[in-house]
């Protein structure tokens, strides 16, 4: 029988190999799923792993979806590394989008180009404010942050619905639940002609660098993580767990809010009930698959973006429901967690 045997030291090889093995297993299950559904598995793999990278335009669309995922995941990495379980990034994303949308709606023909900065800042503040509710309830009332942050997702979505069905509805919009299209001046500047990639991508990459420096080269970044690795040691060293909680939630809330602002003032261009697209949840998977490491999350964000685009293509090309994306995302996280066992244990054969 196979037995798990604890390794004397965690295996550095497997900490890198585990996400790859998880991906391989997920792809194998995917192939089986395609076969079971009577679809050509080679075509299925093409749709997910080749079509999204086969042309310059396809690559730029891949980046458009990877950007918000990466930005949210960067913030979540700070949370998960400090053992703060914020799973309500979706709600913080929505509130960031609402705040940014509110500013964008105030703009008129006389607004200068600097309004874009205000739109993005509003997004950050909106996300932070929403995350601070979770932080406050955890800090003052000891309420479980997992449940509180998740419940607030539903509240945020209802609040967005209230605005677009009610006070912010476009009077000229044929009664569709949406705001008017934002003024061109509030749009997030694009990087080049002919693609939807905007400066959000640069912000995300800057975030990667900033997070790397913060986590691995600063004292406060170190103090932030000790509480997650060894709470007793953090207590002994005098690192404040309350401060770590607030830093973690404000960072991830701000990041998710920024992503929300970049989405509504970027590709979407108005507030609609379809703003929450599940990026906040997918980013949790991005964070774990990327090992909570800034560079690792770049790769996992691109992978998750492939799943999104592949799902859309699977719908149009193969006639499969778009929700196949969610199946693969969930499977990937599952297999990753199972494969991670190999970091601390080795599989041995014993009779």
């Amino acid at each position: 029988m196979f037995k798990l045997e604890a390794r004397p030291q965690p295996s550095p090889v497997w900490s890198y190999a585990s996400p790859l093995l998880a991906l391989v297993i997920t792809v194998c299950i995917g192939v089986l799923l395609f076969v079971a559904l009577g679809k050509d598995p080679v075509r299925g793999l093409q749709v997910f792993f080749w079509e999204p990278i086969k042309s310059g335009y396809a690559l730029s669309e891949l980046m458009v979806k990877a950007t918000p995922l990466l930005i949210i995941a960067l913030g979540l990495a700070v949370c998960f590394r400090s053992n703060v379980w914020n799973i309500g990034a979706e709600g913080q994303f929505v509130m960031g989008a609402v705040a940014a949308g509110g500013v964008a709606l105030l703009a008129d023909a006389s607004s200068g180009p600097s309004i874009v900065v205000v739109v993005m800042l509003a997004g950050v503040l909106g996300g932070m404010a929403w995350a601070s509710v979770t932080a406050l309830l955890r800090d003052r009332f000891n309420a479980n942050e997992i449940l509180v942050s998740l419940m607030l997702v539903y509240v945020a979505i209802q609040f967005l619905n209230f605005l677009v069905y009610g006070p912010w509805k476009d009077p000229m919009g044929f009664n569709f639940p949406q705001t008017k299209t934002f003024e061109a001046v509030t749009k997030i500047p694009r990087l080049m002609e002919g693609s939807r990639v905007n400066i959000g991508l640069l912000l995300a990459l800057a975030g990667v660098g900033a997070l790397w420096v913060y986590l691995f080269r600063t004292y406060s970044g170190f103090a932030q993580q000790v509480g997650g690795l060894a709470p007793a040691a953090a207590l002994y060293a005098g690192f404040s767990s309350r401060k770590a909680l607030w830093v973690a939630l404000l960072t991830s809330g701000g990041a998710a809010g920024l992503a929300g602002a970049l989405e509504v003032a970027g590709p979407i261009g108005q507030l609609t009930p379809y703003v929450p697209a599940g990026y906040g949840f997918a980013a949790i998977i991005v964070a774990f698959v990327g090992r909570l490491h800034p560079v690792g999350m770049v790769f996992s964000a691109i992978l998750m973006s492939m799943f999104y685009i592949g799902g859309e293509l699977a719908q149009s090309r193969l006639g499969l429901p778009k929700s196949i994306t969610g199946v693969f995302q969930g499977l990937l996280l599952f297999t990753l967690l199972a494969c991670d066992t190999l970091i601390a244990y080795r599989l041995t054969w014993k009779r």
């Binding site: 009332f141 309420a143 199972a338 601390a344």
Partner: protein, 306 residues
Amino acid sequence: MDAYALLIAATLNAGTVLAIASLGLLINEKVGIVNLGAEGMMLCAALAGFATVVHTGSHLLGFAAGMAAGALMAAVFGVLVIWLNTNQYATGLALSLFGGGFSAFAGTGYVQARLPEQATWAIPVLADIPLLGPALFRHHPMVYVAVALTVGLIWFLYRTRTGLVLRSVGESPESAHALGYPVRRIRLVAVMVGGALCGLAGAYVSTVYTPLWVEGMIAGKGWIALALTTFATWRPARVLLGAYLFGGVTMLQFHFQGAGFNIPSQFLTMMPYVATVVVLALISRNPAWIRVNMPSSIGKPFYPGS
């Protein structure tokens, strides 16, 4: 008066969903395991139950399919968490994300499907009592099952030897292991029973409570059920009361709308979620309340022989 009778009836009905799922999660947590996958299990079970009733016409088979789906998913979760020592929160979250995606994917063909008509239920004689009859005695049998389940669970946990073993595994897996109890197998069984009850609640939602299938139809009930175990400080009777309380909050929104209050419907829809947050904060404020009945090993992995 009749409006109030109907409100009470609707409250009990809504509370039943939460009560069954939450009692299942309570059994999990009593052995020290938190399963954040409740939402995903309920969604898949709702679909399994709905599809089974569509194809077979049998509601009993629908409930059985829901329970089987829940137990199966819980078993996968259990093996990962108990034998591979994966993080309970992350694994539960993975189960919820997977369940949401999978049920949406597999359920696309059932969105337009309709269920066969159901007989209405009434307890003879008692159902004819004015006010009390419509409020209490004209329910689907599952409403009474939830009450029976609560009583049964109290008896099982606090009056039987097996219940004592179960609780001891949650309080101190090391001691239970030292006494020779198969801690990991006991945990797996408890997790699967919890999954089966979440599945039963999910199937009740899609086949009786709102007899249809739409993507994401559980709408956070799994998460509210998770919050209920904390709210109830891990006491079964309080789980049932809490479930009815939240059922009441859910139903109050329809009552408000009917009574002509001019509140935007979105704020009414928010109420159960806001109520969960508020109640969690109020209960958690006093650490002593939480700690008295909280299983000590909750959320912590257990490695036998280490």
